[in-house]
Symmetry: D2
Subunit: 141 residues, 4 copies
């Protein structure tokens, strides 16, 4: 992903992601950042499943929430932190296997409120299948 | 919690919870089940935090989603499984420490669609503080 | 409804409701206000229906959004205005006839963000049936 | 909008829209239908405003809900009807004047559940401004 982020903001986003212990627990990696966008990849670890062995809804939610948060943070002042205040997820299909890609993007930046969208796709043999879509609100903290 | 669940349904709910590896990863325990209700408790493990050391939004979401799912499952036919199709969470306050209690309840049971509500409270020194509220939809799978 | 609202705030809430032309179009009346609460009643007018003659989802949404907005406004400073930034509605049953009662209440007041819940019930022959539940966020404008 | 809808389905969609009295009350017109898509236009009538003279949130919600419903109906069997079971709206900017365009599209068709997205833009002097985004679930009724 070509990025026009300043080096200081890029470093801040990487540090913010690295400080989220939940991402390490889920095996998630930050794979792309840009102005108002973020992409996170994660496996479906055996410890992140629900009762049928599929990815738990909380797995998809967690990586997408982080992706939307980092996307929002990229457009905030350098000294700001970000907080999710509300997120809605629609789960389209079970996450059965393969690698998950969560993408966040800012739909409407704002000084007080940022509206974000997210999606989670499952990548199997080079083919992406959309498995969740999200819509939420982030505020500077 | 007094329960009028049949022993077969109670056993099914306990098994469904026990089979969710994500719950074990988060240290969550099933602490109450009833007809249309479920309560799950969890610590804020160091591996479930966000960048400021608070509980990750995905932690609150995960335990509340499971609580709402078990609550819905308690009112479904004995051979049915449950699937979250959409969930909305509003995060009221950061989860700083203490023990989290997630509660799910069925607002409207239905053969095709169950509407559920959830909440997450933080218990510190015997005092509960509400930190998240949720609203969602579960279907039999 | 017993109210401990100051006369100035009560007058402001009534004026805010009266200035919403959409409420008059829908035949809605403000029937109760209190600190952090509001109740609005409305008929299902022939001009507010969907294709099967039931109340349009937009009817239930509109009166509940106004009820949640007035509830939030009741806890804001006297010179503030209120703005809905996001609302989620789950529709439990069609609104077939009778009188609708929308209730809004503030779950978490805050200087920057207020989290609200709402419900719409249908009143027929003295019996209430819950037909929609809502969860949303209001900000001072 | 080029359409590959069958004449029977196109006629059914037009009739379904025409039967929604709420759309006539709001001055809304059906301006485009396609397989899984729908576009509705509406003015901001004086009777559809909130307390500051902007479009009421219920106006944007109503036309977008109808657009998402018609979009979902276009992919259902010819004898099916459609029902909104839940919708989330994020309001990005007040609707000040001009003409509103609501668009609905099906993100995931399904026999039991259809996941839809919507948006409302405000058209002023040939320029579109996005003012609301929506995400919801429709079922065949």
């Amino acid at each position: 992903m070509t990025s026009t982020l300043s080096p200081a903001i890029a470093a801040k986003l990487r540090a913010s992601f690295a400080d989220q212990a939940m991402m390490a627990t889920l095996g998630a990696e930050l794979v792309g950042i840009g102005p108002g966008t973020c992409e996170i990849a994660a496996p479906i670890l055996p410890g992140a499943t629900q009762q049928h062995g599929y990815g738990h809804a909380g797995l998809m939610f967690s990586i997408a929430d982080s992706a939307m948060g980092v996307a929002a943070l990229s457009l905030m002042p350098e000294d700001a932190e970000v907080l999710s205040i509300e997120v809605k997820i629609n789960l389209l299909s079970p996450a059965r296997a393969g690698r998950l890609i969560a993408r966040g993007r800012v739909v409407r930046p704002g000084r007080r409120v940022m509206v974000v969208q997210g999606e989670v796709a499952e990548l199997t043999d080079g083919t992406e299948k959309l498995i969740a879509i999200l819509q939420g609100t982030m505020i500077p903290a």
